[in-house]
């Protein structure tokens, strides 16, 4: 264990643990937000793990999660639109906090790693993660309106 893996453990136990609880209980609006947050908390943990194990190639799973996690949330926003319209989710502060956490982790890792090709990949991952989560939460809160056959 080093500092990076300790930070990842804390983020997993606190953050991802809370989203597991959130997605397993409560009304639909809470569950979709928890699903979106699970991406924005697990992806920084994967980046921290890659740094902690000193394996730059472990950034690839984080990149794929940053890409496809928000796409998964868009799937829910699109196909559950009718249910979400009746009871739209509203958790802007939680979303901002989780996205901020992701941005901070990416920036810290960039500063530690120094400017090279790996930093480019980190920045792309961070941009996809933060942008994706904000857009996905917008889509959940009425960004996609349901149609019966669409």
């Amino acid at each position: 264990m080093n500092g990076w893996t300790v930070a990842a453990t804390a983020a997993l136990a606190g953050g991802v643990g809370a989203t597991v609880w959130g997605v397993a209980t409560g009304p639909l609006r809470r569950r979709v937000v928890a699903q979106n947050l699970s991406t924005s908390l697990a992806c920084p943990s994967l980046l921290l793990l890659a740094q902690g194990y000193d394996r730059p190639s472990y950034v690839d799973p984080a990149l794929v999660l940053a890409l496809l996690g928000p796409v998964g949330t868009l799937v829910f926003a699109r196909l559950l639109a009718e249910d979400l319209e009746k009871d739209p989710p509203k958790a802007p502060w939680l979303t901002y906090a989780a996205s901020g956490f992701g941005a901070v982790v990416v920036l810290v890792l960039c500063v530690v790693g120094g400017p090279d090709r790996a930093m480019g990949k980190l920045l792309v991952t961070g941009a996809l993660l933060v942008g994706g989560n904000l857009i996905a939460s917008r889509a959940l809160a009425g960004g996609i309106a349901g149609s019966r056959h669409g």
């Binding site: 453990t9 997993l12 991802v16 997605v23 249910d83």
Partner: protein, 86 residues
């Protein structure tokens, strides 16, 4: 097993998998499954298997929920039509 990281991720996966079985509504189950996929990917990374983690993420985060929800939508639509016809 003395690594707290492994213990934490194993507990997360166990909790999420139990929830996936306990939730009865297929739409909510798809949500739990998506989170289960993410926790599984973290577990695979912790166990030094990033290839498996990538497979899990590629399939579990968008593809499985899409297939599940499309099937649910098809079944619901047929049910709705039958109600109308009655």
């Amino acid at each position: 097993m003395d690594d707290p990281l492994i213990v934490v991720t194993l507990l997360l996966v166990a909790a999420c998998a139990t929830a996936a079985v306990a939730v009865r509504d297929p739409e909510r189950q798809a949500l739990v499954l998506a989170v289960l996929g993410t926790t599984l990917a973290v577990l695979f990374t912790v166990l030094q298997a990033p290839d498996v983690a990538l497979s899990q993420l590629a399939v579990g985060s968008a593809l499985t929920p899409l297939l599940l929800l499309l099937s649910v939508r098809k079944v619901r639509r047929r049910g709705r039509k039958k109600d109308k016809a009655r």
